[in-house]
Structure formats: C-alpha cells, structure tokens
C-alpha cells in the first residue's frame, strides 16, 4: 500500500465536452477532490483526435488546483461507449391539388367579409357581361386597386351581380374599402391566371379574429355546390385543409381534387429478442415505437434497401465504421456494427402544395428518426497511449461511462442508493442504475438534444440550426417597445437603455448575451409550444423509456432517486418536465449537483476517481 496520497485525474470524453476531475486518493482510500475542468471535445468521441481535448482538460484541472503534471500518478479515462446517433427526417404525406382549390392560402389581410358564390369571370371581361347570375371577379396581375374598384363599381352599377373578388396583388382591403357594395375579397393569389374561368366558385372571408365557417365544413361545401353524398365524400379533404383559415376560395371544376397521398418511404426491419419485425415508416411514430418495444433488447435494425430509411440507416453505419475501424492496429476482423436503438418522433414539415395557386404551404406529416449505434470496440486504447506519451503518466481505461456516472451522481447531496441517473446528452439519452447491493446496469437510448434542435428547426421552417439551437436554450420574449419586453410567462421587464433596433417588435430568445431575434412570422405562443412539444417528445419519452430498461422488472416504482445529468440537465425546463412525468411513480427526481458544487457536470469524471479509489490496491 502506498504511504502517501496519490494524485489522479478522471477524464470523461463526451460527445460535446471533455471533463476532468483532479483528486488526491489517500492511503486509506479517502478521496479529496482538488479541481475540475471542462473543455470542448476534439474530434468524434472515441477517436484518437480526442487526445488534444483530454490534455487541455487535464492541464486545466491541474492549473486550477495549482499542481504540476509531474505530480500525477494516473490518468483515468472512461470506456467511452462508442455511441453515435444519426438523425433523419422523412415526409410521409404529400398534398396535391389538381386544378381547383386553394388550400392553406391564408393571406394576412383579406377584404370585406361574408360568403360569395358565383361564376368566375375575369375583370377584363366584366364590362362586357350582362346582368344575370352572380359572378366572382378574378383580377389578373398588373391592376391598380383604384382601377379594380372603379371597374367593379361600374359593373355593379349596370346591374351585374358581383358577389366576390379574387386578386393577384396584396390589395384586398384597399379594394373592399372602395366598393359601393361590399363583398368578400381574397388577395395575394400569385398564380391567379390558373384560376379556371366560367366555373362555379365560392369565396369566404371571416370577420377579423374569426375563422371561416362554411367552406371549412364539408356539408357547407356540399350545400354551396349542390353535391351528392358521393361527391361530398370527395370534397371532405378540401374542407379539412381549409380549417382555421380566415379566408378561402374553392372553385368547383369537373376534375378538381385535393389528394392527401402517402409517400412510400420504406420499411424498417427490427431484429431483437429472437424475432424480426417489419414496420412501415409511413405508419407513424407510435407504430414504430411499439415495434421497437416488442423487439427489446434490440439487436439490429435495417432499412429496406433503396428507400429513404435504408439510406439513412446506412449512413449512420458508415459514420460509425469510420469511428471504430480503419485503424491499422485494430483492423482485422470486420467490425460488427449494430443499431441498438431507434427513436421515432412524429413531426410536421411545412411544404409547398403541389398544384397550388398561391404558393400555399401545407404542413405535411413527417417522421424523424434517431438511430443509435454502439460497437464492441472502441479506440480508446489509442487515446490512452497518446495521453500517456504526452504527459508521461500511466493512463488507465476505467469503467463504463453510465456506471461511472452513477458513482459521480452519488456525490450529490441528498442522494442515496438505489439511484438511477439520466444523462441527457446531445446524441443519446443514457440511463444507469445502482441498487442497494452495488449491482449496476446501464443503457443508451437514441435521441436527445440534437433531435430537439432538428425538430424545432423543421417545424418552424427556420432552416437555420443556430437559431433553432437558440430557441431550445433560452426562454422567449416579445419586444414590445424599445424599453420593455413581455416574457413568455406574461410578465413585463423594463430596460433603462433602449434595446437594439434590430430586435424591435420581434419575438426574441433571451440568451445571456442579450436578445436575439427569431426570423419567423409565428407568434411567441406558437414558437413556445413547438419548443416544449419537441422537448417533451424527445426527453420525456426517452426518460421513461430508458428508466424502464434499467429499473428492476421494468417497474419505475422500484426506483427511489433519479438524478439528471449532462448538458441538457442544465436546460431551463427539461428537468421539470421530466420530474413532472416521473412524479406519478413516486420518484424523487432532480438535477444533480456532483460533488455538491459541479451541478449536473463532471459526474463521470468524479465517478472514475471514486471507482478507482475503491478498487485501489
């Protein structure tokens, strides 16, 4: 037994950060923690590129504790379970309009109000037609609002029954304000020339603050166009698509149709617990997750070759092969790469409607998949060799990450065995449990922070990962004047200095660096709801899923303490969402505070030191 305290440093290489924990282990195995450090992970986790990050973290911890590298006795590395996750999103529905209707077109400022049903007539022909049945006036591009109004007024003066108007430009209110007889006016129909003329059409505009009633009701449409039951069945998708709009135009043409087509995206083949299950991706997340649950423990998953799913899973596999293979020393037998978990989430993607007349957008259903791969091999050994070489210190590869994390989590004040940890990371959500007898189990499930960012990005049609990341990280506010903002909880905050002009009137994220505007037309409530839903569908679902796998008998009630760790445990709302979801099972759940000072960080690094001390000779 050594007669002096040994100086060791535990290092945890994570997907995004590398953390170090420096401690002195006394001969009687008591551990005194001296300092910690945190830096960005260099390279993909589990590859030799990590060495630089490890060195930075170790030196940082030494510097903080005022020790020199020469004093170190050992560097402890985690057995980084090489877990990488891949993400893919596939649209599974497509809305196609043939000819006739405008769905999802919801101009900000329609004019007039009410319902007008009549035959479509171009404005250029309006002064030639005779008084008779009602007409809907269709105005091509290039007309000035005053000319439109005077032409319509002249026709009405002659006795022509103009009951509604459809415009190309953004002129509806202007035209409606100038009509002698007010009628509903829908504008911003970009492809107005495609509106068929001489057909029966209905135009409806609701009062401000209301949504349309007649055209969004299947029987309303049936009444307006005099449809028989069979035809009524046919127009039901039209009515559905118009729900929630303030204005709508429906033209009845012989072959007009709206179809809601399912796009074949392929089937997912899940192998596990002695069976092989096939599930069609187009059936949605619920069916897929059901199949995943039945195939537990999942051994591998394959996508149908030549389909979107196939391509996506192949890509995940390729990236993983890169991480574990192609290293001379470790080559030899072909690397066994298996997909161990899949998380499917239902989402929607705003897409332009095919055949639309006004560049309409429609929310199409989509499925987002996160797949997780782990292998039997990691290249941690080469990282360890390089670290040993650089520092001239023995470098040991310690225990499995999850199991180390539990030991680190136990240093949180108020926690006792049996304890489970949930490590909410970027790529995967990991759970581990340590029971009273000291037995431990650990699992990784696919889907975490990255997937949340992706969902926010696509559901808000931001196409900007940076902005989506900001939305995920910080609460929202609306800048109501240069001197005050209204937070998402409704409270108002005043400022002494005027806010920068680029945030004026915008929905912003309140990052510590200052407010950042979100480039979206959606209101604050909508953005907030999408953010919370994305987090719930990924983290709450995964928390329950992962804990079930580590809890004895899959029963969550056997767990007493759950400690949340990892970067996402620092989030302002995820911990409470998970705590709410677990409260029903009588579980004490909260964000960890490793060593009583480190918060949810550094659990694995501290755990490595603790495990090393316990096992020390």
């Amino acid at each position: 037994m050594p007669d002096r305290a040994r100086l060791v440093v535990g290092v945890d290489i994570g997907n995004s950060t590398t953390e170090a924990c420096l401690a002195a282990v006394a001969p009687d195995r008591t551990v005194s923690y001296l300092g910690t450090d945190l830096t960005r992970t260099t390279g993909v986790k589990g590859t030799p590129d990590n060495t630089d990050g490890v060195l930075t973290a170790v030196r940082g911890a030494l510097r903080r504790a005022g020790r020199a590298a020469a004093e170190l006795d050992a560097v402890l590395l985690n057995e980084a379970t090489p877990v990488i996750s891949g993400l893919a999103m596939e649209t599974i529905t497509e809305t196609i309009i043939t000819e006739s209707t405008m769905i999802g077109h919801n101009p900000a400022t329609p004019g007039g109000q009410g319902l007008g049903v009549g035959t479509t007539v171009s404005l250029t022909e309006l002064d030639e037609i005779d008084p008779g049945p009602p007409v809907v006036c269709v105005v091509p591009h290039g007309w000035d609002f005053e000319d439109i109004a005077s032409t319509v007024n002249a026709a009405v003066g002659r006795g022509v029954d103009v009951v509604a108007a459809v415009l190309a430009g953004d002129d509806a209110v202007l035209v409606a304000n100038r009509l002698t007889r007010p009628v509903p006016v829908v504008d911003e129909v970009a492809a107005v020339e495609k509106v068929p003329l001489g057909m029966l059409a209905a135009v409806e505009v609701a009062a401000a603050g209301y949504t349309i009633r007649t055209l969004s009701n299947t029987y309303g449409l049936a009444t307006v166009f005099g449809l028989d039951p069979d035809q009524t069945r046919h127009v039901s998708p039209v009515a559905r698509a118009l729900t929630g709009n303030r204005s709508a135009v429906v033209v009845r043409t012989p072959s007009g149709d709206v179809t809601d087509r399912r796009i074949p995206v392929g089937t997912l083949e899940l192998r596990g617990s002695g069976k092989t299950l096939r599930v069609d991706l187009a059936t949605g997340a619920e069916e897929i997750m059901d199949a995943v649950a039945r195939a537990q423990p999942l051994e591998d998953a394959h996508g149908e070759p030549g389909t979107h799913v196939g391509g996506m899973l192949a890509q995940v596999r390729d990236t993983m092969a890169d991480v574990v293979g192609q290293d001379g020393e470790e080559a030899g037998s072909p690397v066994e790469i298996a997909i161990n978990d899949v998380l499917a989430v239902d989402t929607f993607v705003p897409a332009e409607v095919r055949g639309g007349l006004a560049g309409e957008m429609h929310l199409e259903n989509a499925v987002a998949l996160a797949a997780m791969v782990s292998t039997s091999r990691s290249r941690m050994r080469s990282v360890a060799e390089r670290v040993a070489e650089e520092l001239g210190v023995a470098t040991l590869i310690g225990g499995v990450e999850g199991k180390m994390a539990v030991r680190g989590a136990l240093t949180t004040p108020g926690v006792d065995r049996p304890v489970a940890v949930l490590d909410l990371g970027g790529g995967s959500t990991d759970a581990a449990e340590l029971d009273r007898e000291g037995r431990d189990t650990a699992v990784h499930v696919a889907g975490a922070g990255e997937l949340v960012t992706k969902l926010i990005d696509s559901e808000l049609a931001l196409d900007d990962r940076e902005v989506a990341e900001n939305i995920k990280r910080s609460p929202l506010a609306k800048v109501e004047s240069f001197f005050h903002v209204r937070h998402e909880d409704g409270t108002v905050q005043f400022f002494d200095e005027p806010l920068p002009s680029h945030v004026f009137a915008r929905v912003v994220t309140l990052a510590p660096e200052g407010p950042t505007p979100i480039p979206t037309r959606h209101g604050l409530d909508h953005v907030r709801q999408i953010r919370r839903e994305a987090k719930r569908r990924v983290f709450v679902v995964n928390a329950v899923r992962a804990l079930r796998q580590v809890a004895a008998g899959g029963n969550l009630r056997t767990l007493d303490f759950v400690v949340l760790l990892g970067g996402s445990a620092l989030d302002f709302e995820i911990p409470e969402m998970i705590a709410d979801a677990l409260a029903g099972y009588g579980i004490v759940c909260g964000t960890g505070n490793v060593l009583g000072t480190e918060g949810p960080r550094n659990a694995v690094a501290s755990g490595l030191v603790a495990a090393h001390a316990a096992a020390a000779p």
Binding site: W143, D144, A172, L174, N177, S481, S501
Partner: protein
C-alpha cells in the same frame, strides 16, 4: 404586391394642401408620413422619375391595406432624412413614421430610437419603385400594430452610386435650398388628380 397601372398613363399628380401646424397624434393606430421641403412641391418625381403622387399613394395604400390610418406632415426646416423621420415619429400616435425625401430615399423610424438610428432604411433612392413604397407602407403599419414584419429586402446595386451620385447631389442641393429655417412641421392633405397629359 404593388400593381403598376397598365393603361397607357392617366398620370396622377398630387398637391399637398397645408392644414396647419402638425400636432402630436393620440391614436395608437396611426403612421405619420413625413415628406421633405421640396417633395411634391419644387420636385414632382423621384430621382428615377417615380411620380411623388405614386410614392404617396403606394405608401398610403400599404398602410391602409393593414387597416392602419395615416397622416402626412411636411417637415420644412431640414432636408436630413433621419431628422425628418425622427421628427415625424415624435408626432405619431403609434411612434412609427415613414420619412421620405424628394429624390426618393426613405426610412422607417420609431420615436424611442436615437435620431441617427432607424427601423428600416432604404438608402439607394434609384432602386425604389412603386412596389417597394407599397411594402414600406405595409411594414410601417405592421410595426404600428405591434407585429413583426419581415424587413423589406433592400436592393443593392454597386453601380447605383457612381451612376446616380451626381444627380443625387444636385437634387439634394436643390432640396436644401427649399429649407425654410425655423419653421415647424405642418400637417398636409394630399389632393390627387388625374392628368391625361402623360
């Protein structure tokens, strides 16, 4: 979008009739449009011959389409766009104003901003046409309603500066000559007329 008149040109002209000293508005749903000393007076067109009548008509239309009201004032003691727009923002019930110079340069301002700042600035007057003025009016009205409009895309033409700089400078000199120092802004009423002249 804006809609240029198709028919060969019953050109619209505008005269601005003075109503009296411009007062501070109290309606929260108004946008004030402020024009420079020579706008629709010594000059009748912008640097690229967009009639001032059309500029005003499109700004007013953009505001009306959003269901917001507009007032027009003429600022007479300066030809500096920031000063004109900022003065008007102080007079606006919503705190939002659009300032426009005779040559067409335009700015959306807000009363709490420093004078030399702005919400949206359209510095290259030769690139502003009827459509852009419509969208400027529309955006100003949306700011007044507390909405978050997407800024009107500002066009940029590298050649605009060398090509138009001399003319812009001359127009500016002329505008400066029209300044009546020490006179307060006046409220004006537009009278549009159709002249068949073309």
């Amino acid at each position: 979008m804006g809609t240029p008149t198709t028919s060969p040109a019953p050109e619209r002209t505008v005269r601005l009739r003075e109503l009296g000293p411009a007062r501070r508005g109290s309606r929260p749903d108004e946008v004030v449009i402020a024009v420079s000393p020579a706008f629709a007076d010594f000059f009748t067109k912008t640097i690229v011959d967009v009639p001032h009548a059309e500029v005003l008509r499109q700004l007013l239309a953009g505001i009306e389409e959003q269901g917001v009201t507009a007032r027009i004032v003429r600022v007479r003691d300066t030809a500096d766009l920031a000063a004109i727009a900022h003065t008007a923002a102080q007079l606006s019930g919503s705190g939002i104003a659009v300032g426009v110079l005779a040559r067409g340069t335009t700015m959306i301002h807000q009363k709490d901003l420093p004078r030399l700042s702005n919400l949206e600035l359209f510095p290259q007057s030769p690139l502003l046409d009827a459509q852009v003025f419509r969208r400027i009016g529309s955006n100003a009205a949306q700011y007044a309603k507390g909405e978050s409009p997407e800024p009107v895309p500002t066009r940029n033409d590298q050649m605009a500066r060398p090509r138009w700089q001399a003319k812009a400078a001359l127009l500016h000199l002329k505008e400066v000559e029209c300044i009546e120092a020490g006179r307060d802004p006046v409220e004006v009423e537009p009278a549009f007329e159709l002249s068949r002249a073309g």
